[in-house]
């Protein structure tokens, strides 16, 4: 490795102390709220945190990705191929699309929801079959949950994002109380109860 680094002697300083999570989905699914809740929980735990969001055109039903990085000191706000410890996917095709971001040994948490992109709607392309099985066949740990049904159970299809945050919380080293306090700060009061229910359903989904 040292010979191929263009004359640079040391590997990057903090690559191992920083954790990286990407949240992927379809614009409009509420990935921004998910990253906001996550950011708040991580700040409560005393980490240095950077969250990079997508605003603007892609939010109109396009493929969206949000980066969350935390650790002692975070430099870059973005995550690249082979760098994500966790992929939190709101949709199966998007889980597959961003798979190259996963670090070897990383985990994919995905909703089993499938949303046809426009080329599939117009008949120019087909929605790929069994993408999750294809990911698993690479030896990757995939946790899947039907977040849409769980959100409906909680009271609104819009709570998919909080169901998925609940599922992610189970996989992270942060107390449940911290997540719930972050949730309280990030959602409007009149929807708090619904979202708490959604969080629990996600948390207990596996």
């Amino acid at each position: 490795m040292s010979n191929s680094r263009g004359g640079f002697p040391c590997p990057p300083v903090n690559a191992e102390s920083v954790k990286s999570i990407i949240i992927v989905g379809v614009g409009g699914q509420g990935t921004l709220l998910a990253s906001r809740i996550m950011g708040d929980a991580l700040v409560q735990k005393g980490y240095d945190v950077k969250v990079s969001e997508v605003h603007g055109m892609s939010q109109r039903g396009g493929s969206v990705i949000t980066y969350v990085r935390y650790g002692d000191e975070v430099n870059s706000p973005v995550i690249e191929n082979g760098e994500a410890d966790i992929i939190l996917a709101f949709e199966e095709l998007e889980a597959a699309r961003y798979l190259p971001f996963l670090k070897p040994g990383g985990t994919v948490i995905t909703s089993t929801q499938q949303i046809d992109p426009m080329p599939v709607i117009t008949g120019a392309a087909e929605y790929p079959q069994e993408v999750i099985l294809a990911i698993e066949s690479l030896g990757i740990t995939v946790r899947r949950l039907d977040a849409l049904s769980l959100a409906k159970q909680a009271g609104s299809v819009r709570a998919v994002n909080v169901v998925l945050i609940g599922a992610l919380a189970k996989d992270m080293d942060i107390e449940k109380e911290v997540w719930l306090s972050a949730l309280e700060k990030c959602v409007p009061e009149k929807f708090l109860e619904l979202n708490q229910k959604a969080f629990e359903l996600g948390y207990n989904s596996y």
Binding site: M1, S4, R5, G6, G7, F8, P9, P12, V13, N14, G28, G39, V43, D48, V49, K50, V51, S52, E53, V54, H55, G56, M57, S58, Q59, R60, G61, G62, N75, S76, P77, V78, E80, N81, G82, E83, L93, A96, R97, L99, P100, F101, L102, K103, P104, D116, P117, M118, P119, V120, I121, T122, G123, A125, P128, A134, I135, L138, L148, V157
Partner: protein, 580 residues
């Protein structure tokens, strides 16, 4: 206390803390949230101006009037605002004035990838560039002190990744800043040639002084890791370089990107084996280094296009590559689309079927260029649709004008469309202008504008009457149509294309995402469906085709019941359903 803030929110916090009194902006991704966040502070007067030129002039007047002022815009907005800004460079300020400009490397949400640093050089205006949210706040505050000390407006340059990334920011209280007295000073504030000539001399002197400041200021800092390789960089690129190279290099991190220091760069480079300049887009820093005789490596290796990241630096400089997984299958792309219930859909479906030339503009409706609507022939910049159509019609004559239209949103029409429509009326082309009035500035996330009747702060105000405005310009044919009614749109379009004079069609229906818009019951597909797929032509994300049953399917969770698909179904197979 520390808060996790977007770069844009941190700029707004800086505006608050440094006692800014007046903010005027036009929304534009990625700059919009600066002004939205500033509007949450009651102490700051904030407004959406009709365009960036107006916003910059409002900020200029406020600064002359003695209040610290700000205007925010995206990179292309700076083209619109350039006229007052170039002369404000001569006039200088009374109270400080800062122009926030957010570039969009990678064109996440823009029509070009221009590098605003060129403007700093061209207008001879100091430009600061933060690399995280804390610096966004700190540099904003510092910009006002510098603006007043050196009698100059100051640019604060952001990029998408800085504007839209959250990082921790230490929060402070607001400084108590008094309104400065206004004293009439014609020689300073009136740029007649006789007054402007000495001011140009003063600007050159100021640039020299600012260059001296750049040599010693804390913003341009050296991080000495006792390495043999050096990196000169700024903004987001500093973070990417730290990520990719770590302590393997010495860094000269430039917080001020115009004017650039000379001696500081020379002394940084002295004794190093190799110095890289890592900058997105143009070679501004690199060209400066080469001009002062410092040998650096930059664009010979690194791209001039697109957004950087640690991967780009690893690929081109350290020659590292992370191991990663990939699936063998090719996946369908997911481009952005018009939302379910979008009022633009019925109109663009009609334009597609009519096979007319469509002169497009900037907004959500630019998505009408994509399949299956595919109804746009050109899109240049804000306001260009109407003037470009006029030019097209003048070039190609009467017959072509019966097969051509311009489409422009309500906010874009207010921005720079009005003067184009004046030209159509004044110079008489049989142009058909369609104003897509969805009662909001949609693409940037629902901002108010002069047609909506509400201010940025949400207070009721006077609303521009589009029909009366068009008529007063000299357009006598003005028709209003509901774009959910496809048949009515078809009829109006055919009539106006045939008209022997300029005309305006107002396609009026509020954006489906607006809170006050009540959606109808979702539609459903009944047994009459013959699987002809005609409805797929409207490009609605709530519609899909079920291969097993060979019938269209409507997602009741997202359908807003707009009826556009039902209106074109030849078998009347799309009917009212129930929300699950």
């Amino acid at each position: 206390m520390k808060e996790l803030l977007l770069g844009n929110e941190a700029v707004a916090r800086g505006l608050y803390e440094v006692g800014v009194g007046v903010v005027s902006s036009y929304p534009g991704t990625p700059s919009t949230e600066i002004t939205e966040a500033a509007a949450k502070y009651d102490e700051i007067y904030t407004e959406w101006a009709p365009n960036e030129k107006v916003a910059a002039e409002v900020a200029a007047g406020a600064a002359i009037g003695g209040a610290r002022s700000f205007c925010g815009m995206k990179h292309v907005g700076l083209n619109v605002a350039a006229d007052p800004i170039f002369t404000m460079s001569y006039i200088g300020v009374n109270a400080g004035m800062v122009i926030g400009v957010a570039d969009d490397p990678g064109m996440h949400s823009s029509q070009n990838e221009q590098d605003s640093r060129n403007y700093a050089k061209a207008a001879k205006i100091l430009m600061l560039e933060p690399s995280d949210s804390q610096e966004c706040k700190d540099f904003t505050k510092l910009a006002y002190a510098l603006s007043e000390e050196y009698d100059t407006p100051v640019f604060l340059r952001l990029t998408t990744r800085i504007s839209h990334s959250r990082s921790l920011v230490e929060i402070s209280e607001r400084d108590s800043i008094e309104l400065k007295p206004y004293d009439k000073n014609t020689a300073k504030n009136v740029m007649l040639p006789a007054f402007a000539r000495p001011k140009h001399v003063a600007v050159e002197v100021r640039t020299k002084k600012l260059t001296e400041w750049a040599e010693t200021c804390e913003l341009n800092k050296i991080i000495d890791n006792n390495a043999k390789i050096g990196v000169i960089t700024s903004g987001a690129c500093y973070q990417y370089a730290r990520e990719a190279i770590g302590d393997g290099a010495n860094y000269l991190k430039l917080g001020a990107v115009y004017p650039l220091p000379v001696e500081k760069i020379k002394s940084f480079a002295a004794g190093l084996d190799k110095v890289y300049v890592i900058e997105e887009l143009d070679d501004i820093i690199e060209a400066h280094c080469k001009a002062i005789g410092v040998n650096v490596v930059g664009k010979d290796l690194l791209p001039r296009v697109g957004e950087f990241s640690q991967r780009i630096i690893k690929q081109y400089i350290t020659c590292d590559e992370n191991a990663f997984f990939s699936l063998p299958a090719e996946l369908p792309i997911r481009p952005p689309v018009m939302c379910s219930g979008c009022p633009h859909r019925g109109l663009f479906y009609t334009l597609n079927k009519a096979k007319v030339f469509v002169s497009g503009d900037i907004g959500c409706y630019t998505l009408g260029a994509s399949a299956p609507l595919s109804a746009m022939d050109t899109c240049i910049c804000m306001g260009a649709s109407i003037s470009a159509l006029h030019g097209f019609n003048k070039a190609r004559g009467e017959e072509a004008s019966k097969r051509a239209v311009a489409v422009i949103g309500d906010s874009t029409f207010m921005h720079t469309g009005i003067n184009s429509l004046v030209n159509v009326a004044y110079n008489q082309s049989n142009s058909v202008t369609i104003i897509l009035d969805n009662s909001i500035t949609g693409m940037t996330g629902q901002q108010q504008n002069p047609t909506t009747g509400f201010t940025l702060k949400g207070d009721p105000t006077t609303a521009v009457n589009l029909e009366a405005l068009c008529k007063s310009i000299g357009i006598s044919r003005v028709t209003v149509v509901d774009p959910y009614d496809v048949k009515a749109v078809q009829k109006v379009l055919a009539e106006e294309l045939e008209a022997e004079e300029p005309s305006v069609i107002i396609s009026r229906r509020p954006c489906a995402l607006l809170k006050y818009v009540k959606h109808a019951e979702p539609l459903m597909v009944n047994e009459n469906c013959i699987g002809c797929k005609i409805c797929m032509g409207v490009g609605c994300p709530s519609l899909s085709f079920d291969a097993a049953s060979k019938k269209a399917v409507i997602d009741a969770n997202t359908c807003t019941g707009c009826n556009v698909c039902a209106g074109i179904c030849p078998k009347n197979a799309i009917v009212k359903g129930v929300r699950s």
